[in-house]
Amino acid sequence: MPSQAEARAITASARNGWLLSTPALVILSLAAVGPLLIVVIYSFLTPGQHGNVVWEFSTDGWTGILWSKDIFTDEWMLADAHLTIFWRSVSLSLMTTLFAFVVGFPTAWFIATRPPKERALWLFLITIPFWTNLLIRTYAINEVLRKEGLMNTVLMGLGLTDAPIDVLYTQTAIFIGMTYVYLPLMVLPLFAAIDRFDMKLLEAAYDLYASRWQVLRRIILPIVKPGIIAGSILVFVPSLGAYVTPRVLGGGKQMMIGNFIELQFLQGKNWPLGAALSMLLLLIVMAALLVYVRYANRGSSHG
């Protein structure tokens, strides 16, 4: 039981806490809650003739996520095209996350085990792409992948293939592009986790009869798990909402949720559907985050 004086002090510090966080709360409500509220309201309105909205309540925006109205009969039909887009977004994002991990883990391990001086150089190299505009980098990948591009020139020059591989404007191209763009977001948290990892534990595990594979599975992966989770979130979340990469490398043929939302606001002139889709994306991301946080807390209760 805290004494009266202690209780007073606790209340006072709680009051001060609220007072001190007022500026942050104001910014948060203006920058995050406000716009979000507008999106929520728009998702329950009726689309206008030339875009924008009519102030008339309607749930059609939300219904339109999975169903679409037949142009002639005005009946709601299950929209296969929408489902394809959602599935493509989720599966491509999952694949990107997985592949970024498979490539990023050895990379992060390599950097973390270099001498400190060399390490700074490698980390610097990893962050260099961030200095260039995303659009430009994506067009660069486009240039590499296209029929007469670098990749095919090299492959054909080496005689590895007779005909150019037509990979541009496919899901594979989007997958390659997203992995490239988001890889540093996987490497950096992994590096931070591996850097904290006590390499003596490897010797201890080998000494206790663990094979190399068992050392990786039983010791390394569980201990660097917080880094794996952080990296996966950092790759999965922007992948799911990716817009530029599928636009440039998918050529408009391979739409992802981000492009689908854009479509509703521009050519589609269906703002409520666009708003509902945006909210859906947000909900999926939040659900993913919650699952991850749960999972992370359960596994890493050690200090």
């Binding site: 000494d207 206790l208 663990a210």
Partner: protein, 357 residues
Amino acid sequence: MTNPVTISARGVVKAFGQGPGAVRALDDVSLDIRKGEFFTLLGPSGCGKTTLLRLIAGFEMPSGGTILLDGADITDLPPNKRPVNTVFQSYALFPHLTVAENVAFGLQMLGKPAGEVRATTERMLALVKLEALASRKTAQLSGGQQQRVALARALAPQPKVLLLDEPLSALDLKLRKEMQVELKRLQHETGITFVFVTHDQEEALTMSDRIAVMNAGKIQQVGTAKEVYTQPKNRFVASFIGETNFLTGTARAGALELPTGDTIPVEGLKPVDGGKPVTVTVRPEQVRIGKPGVEGAKAKVAALVYFGTDTHCHLHLRDGTEVVVRLQSPASGDSGLAEGDEVSLGFAPGAAQVVED
């Protein structure tokens, strides 16, 4: 001790680096460690003792020579194929596992059935008196408790040899004394051969059955605590273990003639061919002080330092050479000597040892 040899190092060399810049951490080391022994590798930092331990564990490969375990060559076996476990200086406990899971790890990796793993783990936790903390994470334990977990974890797979790399160095003095007793008890109860690395000579003297004193990548002397203390083979061993005096002079039959012309009787000393000078070492507590004129070397009391149980008397020989004498303090605390007193200096019978340089 006539137990069979468990670990045998044969001409082991370990060099780090290449070419002329290479450092020889171990230089032609040969050593036999017997079954059930508490064997200590003692030496200053950088003497190669930890390198030798890591070679026995398999963390490093020797540049030359072989290591045998129960007569079988294990030189090329990786650590996970050697029935040898290590207690690390930093303990290296697995932070994501509980105390019990840490202890069970080795047994699980060996593929022991679950029932046996559980039973052995419980037995090991009881052995180090940690049953109550079995389900704690290791980060929540004190240094001494972590030490016990490390011991239980390394003992659980019942290795033929347990290697301990300065395991007590991170503990405070009181805990260190407790763990010294604890280690002896564990070794006694398990009967496992312990190879213990330390730079602390007192720790080595009190705990070991035998000690290998190492310096500059070489083994200087192997023997029991009494042997290395009372019969040091060379100057390094004499000065590294305990305090000592060195006197250089000419060997005569039964006496040492100092450069000052004085002679000190030394039982069994024989003249050396060519009259080459010899070095004799004698512990401070084995130096005897007599009245001036008694047989021995003339000396003058330069300083007296009172330590409670004993008094250190710094004597200067006629050529200025300093000899330290440790006198047990009498009840009054007064040693009966004063600075400037003239005395005669001799050695207790059998105390003086001729050492190699």
